[in-house]
Symmetry: C2
């Protein structure tokens, strides 16, 4: 039992260290040595537990997506509020947008993680169902509405560097959040 | 004269090869050897002309931004049309969104290229002036409107991989473009 608990703790430390390392340096730039040192773990344990660097990246990115889906479930009856919550999550987890961009740039196109893919499909289905039921306006196709909503909610966490200032006050963040919510209202009102 | 023309031709071949290399592998992942081979140039010439890998990246990214600003100037009297043209440019130059993402991830925060920074400041000023003159609705703050417009126009070139399908038909592209134009209309109508 003690050994098992130790193994779980080691695994958790590896995942935490790997998340920081991959967010900062991406997949090609990440160093398994640094992850091992950061996790106070043996480098071999990383290969034994996860298989390799790519698999370790997929594991921590899947965990980040799972956390997002759990913390911010889609609410098709309140898409503006959902966009606002996504904005909050992105503000609180700046590593997520970095991981998502590294994933898009460095993993083979077409290779989507199960967690991300099923999450996206479920969201599109939920939007389509609400549009079909008439509780949500059919202003945009479900996948297009989702793509825009995600882009708008992430505009400041993944956007143009010149627009993502270094010194952001609480007031600026609140104003951006209000703009995101307002924009999704505008795009979904019949 | 012939030597000068040769030097210009070599420089142009280096820039073209570097653009492909950086778009594919990013800054850390790019190999100067491969760029030299692709440009049929001597590796030393790259260091002599550009200084180093980071400077070479900045040179090709500046050139890509300059090309964008020249091809698609902002039109504050027709922001929906401007967003549609940005969408077209992103479709025709898939390397641009990759370069922009690598830049955001790999170059130091706060370090913005002159071309990108002055382009962004000019756009914000143009939007603010149009809002002040009353020809553009004050629905959003100028920088927020620009951030959303860029995010929406780039939603499919830089967006969630699951929503950026591999087999995109001409009809799908046309429908996405129409959605982008429609969305910016909705966000700018008083």
């Amino acid at each position: 039992m003690l050994v098992k608990r130790d193994a779980q703790a080691t695994r958790a430390r590896i995942l935490a260290a790997a998340t920081s390392e991959f967010a900062a340096y991406g997949i090609a730039g990440a160093r398994v040595d640094r992850i091992a040192a950061g996790a106070q773990a043996n480098k071999n344990m990383i290969y034994i537990y996860f298989g390799g660097k790519e698999q370790l990246f997929d594991a921590i990115f899947s965990a980040a997506i799972d956390q997002l889906l759990e913390t911010v479930p889609i609410d098709v009856d309140d898409l503006p509020g959902y966009a606002g919550s996504l904005f909050d999550h992105a503000e609180q987890h700046p590593e997520l947008s970095r991981l998502a961009r590294w994933q898009g740039l460095e993993r083979p196109p077409g290779l989507s993680l199960d967690a991300a893919l099923s999450g996206t499909i479920n969201k599109i289905k939920a939007i389509a169902a609400a549009q079909h039921a008439g509780t949500l306006a059919r202003t945009l196709a479900p996948d297009q509405l989702l793509a825009m909503l995600l882009s708008i909610a992430m505009a400041w966490s993944a956007g143009v560097p010149e627009l993502v200032d270094m010194d952001v006050t609480e007031e600026m963040t609140a104003s951006r959040r209000a703009a995101v919510v307002w924009a999704i209202e505008r795009l979904t009102v019949p």
